[in-house]
Symmetry: C2
Subunit: 244 residues, 2 copies
DNA sequence: CATACACAGTGTATGTCGTACGCAGATGAT
DNA sequence: ATCATCTGCGTACGACATACACTGTGTATG
């Protein structure tokens, strides 16, 4: 039999959470789940998610491929550990009574993580990852909204909205802003122009022609702008709550 | 040499867009990119995205694996064709002057597509897919917002917000609502309870205990509710525009 | 009408990957 | 001192995506 398993959490997650039912016999592990996650993150950062393989991670660490399976059940499990490392601890809290700047900081930090680790947007997610750090981010968000009159359900909805906006925004900007080299000839914008028949998509054509989506500032303004809409939506929820 | 290629669009995309530089010699193709996309969609719907392989799609159609490569450049290319089929044509337009109900319908239809094809949320997306139907959806959204005073940039931001909210909502609900069987013992909720220390995550614990996230109606109410916040955010943008 | 060419579908082969299985040595509990 | 148990490793297997070369086919060209 093999410790660490209660068949509910994969091994990597159990290690992340410190739920370790290992017996205290045998050699001590030479690695930690954090070492492995960090090494994998480094590879994904530098060479992209497609270049990430179990063997590459293992080689980087100076171990064999199979040794990793003492720490994670599967590659999916490894990816969860990567997410945990990539996000790190949630941003420091803000003033107790003002949810707005707090939430803005939360979103900015979230965005920063996505910009630093673009591969995060490429990992297929069936369900929200249940890792310590990501759970911490969620807790932090709820804390930011604690001073409001929102119900728990509404707080979660608000955070979902904010989180999901950040992801979408970064993804969209990534398609347009990334290495300008690709833009000119073979980039996304070029392909778009190739297929965009103004007769068939009049509004989209005018939008493109108007220069929308051609931010050169990395989409910072655009981000803050859309974020205002998100916060306005949350504001409306709060107003409704207070009013009736 | 081989027609259909201008090295800008992958072959599957070129076929979808009807940009076909094929010579008019040789046997006619027995399949269409739509046949292939539809077959792949059926497999993903029934057996999940993980079970999708080139050979399985080909077998379903009664052809060999390699024959598919006459229609798509790669599996990624196939996935784009799948998305195009899965979304289909955008929903019918609404009244010219009222963007709100129009956009609501747009979001509902979007949600319906995601619920019908849950695998969509699992496909890794680096950039917004540039297929005819998806472009049509975007155009339709811009049309809905045409009567507003928003700038083109703002319209796109608004649609991004709406789109991205729908995705996030469906994904979150999927993690909780799917086959209740899994919920009881080994489901997401169970794993969450396993790791959620109320001392470490007080707000999250109370939120969970409050019964949030325990919709049994498939999250319909929850969806409409959050959507209200999104629309309120867009409303705010419009008001700002009008005011100043 | 004859011919040649481009293209469709196929068969084979290759390299990569995830991962199941079992072993040898190390370590600490008994 | 003994032995259960764990670590890291070597081997092996099965999928899978996909490159390449071949065969037959139907159309356009002479």
């Amino acid at each position: 039999m093999d410790g660490t398993q209660d068949d509910l959490l994969p091994r990597g997650m159990a290690l992340l959470w410190g739920i370790d039912e290992r017996q205290r016999r045998g050699p001590r592990p030479a690695l930690t789940i954090h070492d492995i996650g960090a090494a994998a993150v480094r590879i994904a950062d530098e060479e992209g998610l497609a270049a990430l393989s179990m063997s590459k991670v293992a080689t980087t660490l100076g171990f064999t491929t199979m040794s990793l399976y003492r720490y994670v059940d599967s590659k999916d499990d490894l990816v969860l550990a990567m997410l945990n490392e990539a996000y790190g601890a949630p941003p420091a809290g803000g003033p107790r009574t003002q949810w707005r700047p707090w939430l803005i900081r939360w979103c900015e930090a979230n965005r920063a993580a996505l910009v630093r680790h673009p591969w995060i947007l490429q990992i297929p997610m069936g369900e929200p990852p249940l890792t310590p750090n990501l759970t911490g981010w969620l807790e932090e968000g709820l804390t930011a909204l604690h001073s409001t009159e929102l119900s728990e359900q509404e707080k979660l909805s608000s955070l979902l909205l904010a989180e999901v906006y950040v992801r979408g925004q970064v993804q969209l900007m990534g398609a347009f802003d990334t290495p300008a080299a690709k833009q000119g000839e073979f980039g996304y914008a070029a392909r778009m122009r190739r297929v965009l028949d103004p007769d068939r998509f009049p509004h989209l054509a005018t939008a493109l022609a108007s220069g929308a989506l051609e931010d050169d500032d990395g989409g910072e303004d655009e981000f803050r702008f859309g974020l205002e809409a998100v916060l306005a939506g949350i504001d409306r929820l709060i107003e409704k709550r207070v009013a009736g």
